[in-house]
Symmetry: C2
Subunit: 346 residues, 2 copies
């Protein structure tokens, strides 16, 4: 078995020069049809493929994009990666995936890797407001797109795609109000995450629109973001004489825990208590009562991010306005919040 078949082999096989073979790829229009088909058939026959390494070395844009995520087993992160991969494939790009750096040293090492590989750009999901990584990327001249980072600096240094969590909270509570509920509860974990705060703001907006004061939003204390925590919330609600008739939990496990506890106590869902969760985890649709859930469009976010990166890197150095895309979450309505239990499906 011979070594790698190169452009020279193709040229020889087709009886043309190296430059002509290159032209067949890069400027097909300037090469004679007859020559072109001869070259193409030689390529086919020899199974020649271009060397990306040589192309990039020569100055062609790289086709590698890097996607560091916090947790490779987290469904939301993987939705991002999935969306990115689909869009990347469509654009002829390949996705380099990894767990994102945990500290400055890892960050530096990873940055070196990116520079060594000569990636075309990076899709990042910042976990906090530290801008060390984006600054480093900028310093290295590597374009990037921010994903799911609400607390953007006032002067964005790159494109970004985010999710409108305020709208999400509004949609969830609006849906419950539409179902005739007047006593609505909001359950979130103890860590006051920005996204929870935004959903809460959205919930209050929905109430305000319906003419209810902010104080009408019931907020049971909740010790965590797990099913166990949800059960505790449920237990406490059971003995609450004035308990809400509908609950928006900012986490599906939380909602499922509440669901378990209430059903075991003999309450009916959604009749005695309507439930809306958040994140639409896999199991939500398989629960004993399929759970309505606020779905964050991770896949669309990944895909959009790739397109933004593409747009940014296509323009030849021409400073273009960094795109700031905001996606809306979607409420997936299932039995846990449907009034008419007769049409229960999904």
């Amino acid at each position: 078995m011979k070594a790698r078949v190169g452009i020279a082999d193709v040229a020889r096989e087709a009886g043309v020069s190296i430059g002509t073979v290159s032209n067949v790829y890069n400027r097909p229009e300037i090469v004679a049809v007859e020559t072109r088909i001869r070259v193409l058939s030689a390529i086919e026959r020899l199974g020649y493929v271009r060397s990306e390494n040589a192309r990039v070395l020569r100055g062609q844009p790289s086709r590698l994009i890097a996607v560091p995520v916090h947790d490779l087993t987290d469904p939301f992160c993987m939705a991002l990666v999935q969306g990115a991969e689909e869009a990347a494939r469509e654009a002829g790009l390949a996705v380099l995936v990894c767990k994102s750096a945990q500290n400055t040293e890892e960050e530096a090492r990873y940055l070196d890797l990116l520079k060594e590989q000569g990636v075309r750009g990076v899709l990042i999901t910042p976990k906090d407001d530290s801008q060390s990584f984006t600054e480093a990327l900028q310093g290295a001249g590597i374009p990037f797109v921010l994903m799911d980072h609400d607390a953007r600096p006032s002067r964005p240094r790159g494109c970004s795609v985010t999710i409108d969590d305020v709208a999400g909270g509004r949609m969830a509570v609006q849906h419950l109000l539409d179902g005739g509920h007047r006593n609505v509860g909001f359950v979130s974990g103890p860590h006051h995450l920005l996204q929870d705060a935004q959903r809460r703001a959205g919930a209050l907006e929905a109430l305000a629109r319906a003419g209810y004061p902010a104080t009408s939003l019931r907020e049971p204390v909740c010790p965590g973001m797990t099913a166990t925590a949800g059960r505790q919330v449920g237990k406490r609600l059971l003995s609450d004489p004035n308990r809400p008739t509908a609950l928006f939990c900012t986490n599906d496990l939380l909602a499922l825990g509440v669901l378990q506890e209430l059903r075991e106590a003999g309450l009916r869902v959604p009749d005695d208590m309507a439930l809306v969760g958040c994140d639409d985890i896999d199991y939500a649709s398989s629960a004993s009562v399929p759970l309505t859930s606020l779905q964050r469009p991770g896949r669309a976010m990944g895909a959009t991010a790739v397109r933004l990166l593409e747009a940014e890197t296509m323009l030849d150095d021409g400073e273009h306005d960094h795109g700031q895309v905001v996606l809306s979450p979607e409420l997936v309505v299932r039995s846990s919040s449907r009034r008419e239990t007769s049409t229960a499906q999904s």
Copy 2:
């Protein structure tokens, strides 16, 4: 801002020649200590990083490994990727991830991509016995490692890592027998998957060891691999006068469906029915009764695969024996199969 800083800049800055800078990287031992630190400090000062493209072009082994998986949102696939990424990072490699090809054309296109990028190797999870892709890889001279493919050809063409599903079935049923159960059921989907068949074989082995005939294994028919299907199984079992006291379901959703149905009918789990699922999905531990589940070591599989690939590509062309690693699944025991409900803990 200047263009990319190259090896020549470093050489100039350090007052040495290009070759010496290269030697600092590739044969540090032959360069004088004093020169070396001077070069290193120049590298540091200028923020120089080597061009992987140029290195590979020059003949260095690539640091890219490709991991095509069936579904980027499937937890098991992602466990593979996670394990691979961790091991790869440790080895200084980067992971190229994508959805695996669905047809021959996609396969060919993907193969071209791999060749163009000059990947060092591929980790593949075949979905059927078609060997077209492995043969193509072999033809292209790209090393690969098979993951989770039980039906290997007699003469393997590469390393492989698999999971011992027979042992898994045996462990699950043995666990139930140890719990004092004598009437054990086995529930799997309608598609007779190889892995299900192997788990069944393991289940029969466990029974045989305990002195029970193969006919003692109860096998309720099951219409699918979903929670809904599980509920149907549960419903049918409720009216079975001679129903098993323990069930091994080859899928967690199935087991959770059974669990829901039985509990709603007032049966207690595990007292009236012990349950063991399979795959240990995220939600298994959060179910109303935390579910015992057979966990397949995807992460270890990915990591092992990378190490095998490394071993294979380190050896300079010297034909080495392809490693065939078999990993054991692990039974994660939770309340749904524990006799003593007093010590119940996740």
